[in-house]
């Protein structure tokens, strides 16, 4: 038996009522439209800021180049001979072999981390969920360390990324299974689960540091602190497409994530297959976090700070929040990486340290705020 086509039971027929007291008409009934415009403008502004920041960042360093010189170099490369090329004889090679891969990687990793933050917060219904805080990053890092120390190489250049993805997947699934009960996530369980997973991940990383030889030991430490130093184009060609695919897949889930904000049961009442949605989100989070960790190490708090600020600016709708966060994350990481390599002359600071320095206090503020709003720890 095939059910007949389902039709809505029109509200029109019954909405009229004599005893209804007319309400004052809403003076601002253009809410959604107005917000759409704000979001559009904000996304455009962020996109522009990312481009300007990227050009500026590529020019900053021991060899100073102006953004217009950098732009000219890019345009020439794409067959548009406009503007004056940099005069310095090594400028082209410095730009194209060292700085551009690093700048592009900062954009990719920032976008990946911010988007996985958005997705985790959406699926947990909790603004404190973030890959670094709940242990997904350290899960990914632990698996990647094992691969580095034992010199495993089953997928070529993709091996570390794949291991990081697996680690991220295991950690996310574990957090999900532990921290949720009755369709909701309690803040305290979430954070405690993160503590536990971070502890185990940290232990594995420590063990690998102990077991590894000097070169892999250096690689691990360097990478535990998070850094984009030494990024090559072939890294970008792995991380870039994976991130783009991950974010593109996430786009199909934005409306469902909005509905999930009502809770799991209400989302199901509105036609969302919640089980499937959460598996999809967990996999995408693992992909995005895994790829970021594999090529940049552990960089915390990007996924926490960026979506939160943007939510305050443009509202929580995921359809706009996701692209805005991708751009916001890219911008934040570009700024952080530029500072990392220029704040101290002739030194490359660990970028994870910088984001934690800013993100830590922010997290602290967020915890207090969440506690006040939710009226307790549940």
């Amino acid at each position: 038996m095939t059910p007949a086509k389902l039709l809505p039971l029109s509200l029109n027929t019954t909405a009229r009522s004599e005893n209804a007291v007319p309400e004052a008409p809403s003076t601002r009934s253009t809410g959604p439209a107005r917000r759409r415009t704000t979001s559009g403008l904000l996304i455009a502004a962020l996109g522009l800021a990312v481009i300007v920041m990227a050009l500026a960042s590529a020019g900053i360093g021991q060899m100073q180049l102006s953004p217009s010189e950098v732009l000219a170099s890019v345009l020439h490369r794409f067959g548009l001979p406009w503007g004056a090329l940099p005069e310095h004889p090594y400028a082209e090679s410095a730009l194209w072999a060292v700085r551009f891969p690093r700048v592009v990687m900062a954009i990719v990793v920032g976008a990946a981390l911010a988007c996985s933050g958005v997705l985790m917060q959406g699926v947990f219904g909790n603004p404190l969920a973030e890959p670094g805080v709940v242990g997904v990053s350290s899960g990914a890092a632990a698996f990647a360390c094992v691969v580095i120390v034992f010199g495993l190489n089953f997928f070529g250049t993709w091996t570390v990324a794949f291991a990081a993805f697996l680690g991220g997947l295991v950690a996310t699934a574990l957090v999900y299974a532990t921290a949720r009960s009755g369709g909701r996530t309690e803040v305290v369980t979430l954070v405690l689960t993160g503590v536990a997973i971070n502890a185990v991940g940290g232990a594995v990383i420590a063990l690998m540091t102990f077991l590894g030889d000097n070169s892999s030991r250096e690689e691990i430490i360097f990478w535990q602190l998070g850094s984009l130093n030494g990024t090559r184009w072939d890294n970008v060609f792995v991380a870039g497409p994976v991130t783009i695919i991950g974010i593109a897949l996430a786009f199909f889930l934005t409306h469902k994530l909005d509905l999930l904000a009502l809770g799991e049961r209400p989302a199901r009442h509105l036609g969302v297959d919640v089980e499937r949605l959460r598996i999809q989100v967990i996999i995408i989070v693992a992909i995005l976090t895994g790829v970021a960790v594999a090529f940049a190490g552990i960089i915390g708090f990007v996924g926490l700070v960026v979506p939160h600020i943007l939510r305050m600016a443009m509202g929580p709708g995921h359809k706009a929040l996701l692209p805005a966060s991708a751009l916001g994350g890219a911008l934040l990481l570009l700024a952080a990486d530029t500072s990392a390599r220029t704040l101290v002359p002739n030194a490359d600071l660990p970028i994870g340290m910088l984001t934690a320095l800013v993100g830590g206090p922010f997290f602290f503020w967020l915890i207090r705020r969440t506690r006040k709003h939710d009226g307790g720890w549940s």
Partner: protein, 272 residues
């Protein structure tokens, strides 16, 4: 009624940690009626409503809508058949009340009915008197306001089955009457409503039928006058209850008797 039931429950059983929460419940629901589920705490009202909504799996027995069991329906199609207002409405993140009402339209995404989205959302908001709340952030609303917005969302879903779990618990008199009137109006268009209520006088006023649950099974079922009888209620609620029949068809008023108050008063007077 010779029509086929819209919704049917046969031998619904569910036990949670050894306790029979639902014990062999047979229940038919027809288009055009409002059925109130009443009963003491822990009687299984909310669980039964959750079972009807497809939120909990039965141990045995079936629940079917239009002749197909809940398992046979796709999640997406069920959303076009039944809407649910749960006991408390929480929303993570500061979606506006308008966003929340609009979410009620999502089951119709991808159909020709999306053209009506704006007008339906507007009507739903007017119906539940939430227009003035539209731009407010949902988490900042009061309990009663949240319930009204959740009710507007249910209206916007435009489903033939409407399940309401204590929709009026946090509402003042005006909105209690408003929400139940609106729910009743939907039956005029052919909807069927199941509503869990604690206020038996409200149930008497708005329900066509009352199902009285006790310890997971149906203790009594029928018209308000059949079910709301002092001896039945006193037994089930384990408290003496009076049922007053207001003159001029003012309806039934159910109220608890309070003999102990007089006892305390007498005691106090003695002590002084």
């Amino acid at each position: 009624m010779t029509a086929k039931p819209l919704l049917q429950s046969r031998g619904a059983r569910l036990s949670l940690s050894g306790q029979n929460v639902l014990d062999d419940i047979d229940f038919d629901l027809f288009a055009g009626e409002v059925v109130a589920l009443v009963g003491p705490n822990g009687a299984g009202k909310s669980t039964f409503l959750a079972a009807l909504s497809g939120d909990v799996k039965l141990d045995s027995g079936t629940i079917s809508i239009n002749g197909l069991t809940l398992e046979q329906w796709k999640v997406k199609d069920l959303a076009r058949l039944r809407s649910v207002q749960m006991q408390d409405s929480k929303v993570s993140f500061s979606f506006s009340a308008d966003d929340v009402v609009r979410m009620g339209r999502s089951p119709w995404t991808g159909t020709e009915f999306v053209d009506h989205d704006d007008s339906v959302v507007e009507l739903a908001k007017v119906s539940a008197e939430t227009t003035a709340l539209a731009d407010r952030s949902f988490p900042t609303l009061s309990g009663g306001e949240k319930s009204r917005v959740a009710f507007a969302r249910v209206l916007a879903q435009e489903t033939p089955l409407i399940f309401l779990d204590e929709p009026t618990a946090a509402m003042d008199i005006r909105y209690q009457e408003l929400v139940l009137s609106r729910a009743r109006e939907r039956t005029g268009a052919g909807a069927a409503v199941v509503v869990v209520l604690h206020d038996l006088s409200l149930a008497a006023a708005y329900a066509d039928r009352i199902v009285l649950l006790n310890a997971g099974s149906i203790h009594a079922s029928g018209t308000p006058r059949e079910v709301l009888q002092p001896q039945i209620l006193s037994e089930v609620y384990r408290h003496p209850v009076a049922v007053i029949d207001l003159p001029d068809s003012g309806g039934l008023v159910v109220m608890p008797l309070r003999p102990h108050l007089h006892t305390y008063q007498a005691l106090e007077e003695e002590l002084v």
